[in-house]
Every structure is written in C-alpha cells, then in structure tokens.
Amino acid sequence: MLKKIVLASLVAVPLLSIAQDVPITGTVSSKCIIYTETAGVYGNPSPSILSTLPADGGVQPVIRYDVLQSGYYKAVISTPNTFSSSPTLPDSVTWTGSVDVSRVTNAAMSAYSTNKVTYNNTTEIVLSVPGSVWFKAESKAEYGYNKAFPAGTYRAMVTASCIAI
C-alpha cells in the first residue's frame, strides 16, 4: 500500500511541475536601415562636365532603404551642390541632380516615383510600404561657361536620410 502511494506521488509531482505556462513574447518595432549599395563615380564626358550618368561614363550612386513597418519613416535624399574636395575652382559650378526609384520589393512602391516631393537639391519620399526600396541618384556638375575643370580629384557627397514621422 505504502509503495503504491509513493509511486503515485512520484508520478504526480513531475506532472504538476510541467503544467506551467511558458510565455512567448515578441516585440515588433519599426526601424529604418540605410544601405549604401553603390557609392557612385563621376564620368568626364567633356572637359566642362562631371556626371554620374552611365551614358557619360559615370556610375550612379544607389541607396537602399529597408523599413519594417509602413508610414513610420520618410526618405530624404540630397544630391550634391558643392564638392567636398576638389582643386581650387575660381569659376562657378552649376549643379543638377535627381533621385528616382531603381528597384522595389513590392509593386505598390512604384508609387514612390509619382509621390515624391522635390525641392532645391532634395527629394522626400514617405516610405508607406514595408520592405526594401532602392533609389538611384544622378548628379551633374558643369563648370563655368564651357570651361575645362582643372585637373585633380573631385569628390561630392550624396546625403541619404531616414527621418521618423
């Protein structure tokens, strides 16, 4: 009789101990990650022009934005309006630039091309669809009036921002 009670209690104790809730918790938080895919290179199709267009021998900078939730961030991309380093330039430089959608992971992101807001050298796009989107920037610098750029290395900066809204 005693053996049966001991055996029954030994069986019951582990059963009691495994009858516990195991909570699983998870947090979904919004975040934005900026990937610099291609830094870009200026081509020199004529002595007075530096351009990132492939047709001008350049490479366009490509920036990828990853957002995990929609409507939490906007992308703000500024094309250069000055060189960050260059030889001395006595004459003025005329800058033009643009930003456009290059690749998308969701077809709804194609609306970014039409919904973008552009002012000065800056383009703003509300990242309203979760996923990855690639933007390519184009930058062109013209020196004086058909004047040749002095020899040297020219560097300029594209600023890609992801701003919480």
Partner: protein
Amino acid sequence: MFRYVFMIMALIGGYANAHQFLPTYPKFEHSFITGVMYTKMELFNKRNDVEYYELNVYDNNWNSIAFASESKIVQVNYLQTKSVNVYVKKEDLVRVTYICTESKHKRESGQNTVIASQICSKVK
C-alpha cells in the same frame, strides 16, 4: 510571400553597408542629475567605410538643441553596436523633436562620390 521576398533580398543585399539607429520613438527618463533628462539610443554600424557618426538633437524646425553625451562624435567600429545616452535639460525637452546620427567621412576617402547616411528618431 512578402516575408520570403524580404528574406531573399536581405540575403542578397548582405554585402551592402548599412547604418541603423534605434529606437524610432525614444522616451526620456529622469537622469541621476536633477533637471536633466536622458534617453538611451542604440547605433549599429554595418558600414565598413565609416567609423564615426555625429550625434545631433533638433527641434521641429531643425534648429539645434544643446545636449550632452559621452561624445558628440561617436566611434563605432564595423559590425559594432554602441549604446549612447543623450542628456537634455528638462526645460528643453518640450522642444526636442529629432535625435539624429549622421555618418562622417574622411576627406581622403577613395570614392568620387560618397553617400552620407543620416537616421533620425522622433521624440513624440
């Protein structure tokens, strides 16, 4: 379906350089100094071309607001995550809207064009 596409894209894009700054909507708490509030931010550097990030605090018109931190230029090695405490005076807290990090680049960097990345969290 979208989840698979996102995973594939993440794997394909694994070589790229990335910058991440969290949380999106930070909350300020009382610090150990009377009249000073602080929040903890987390910066992740997956850009192998960048080692330094500048920290800034702005109001909703993008005017700078005085703040304190361990360092305004934060050194974060490649693939390193760094926690940064941002301290703001309690009376300035109502104006604080954005906390941003921006990548800083060396003048002699090898590329013709350089992409500076900036991520701003919003204080609501």
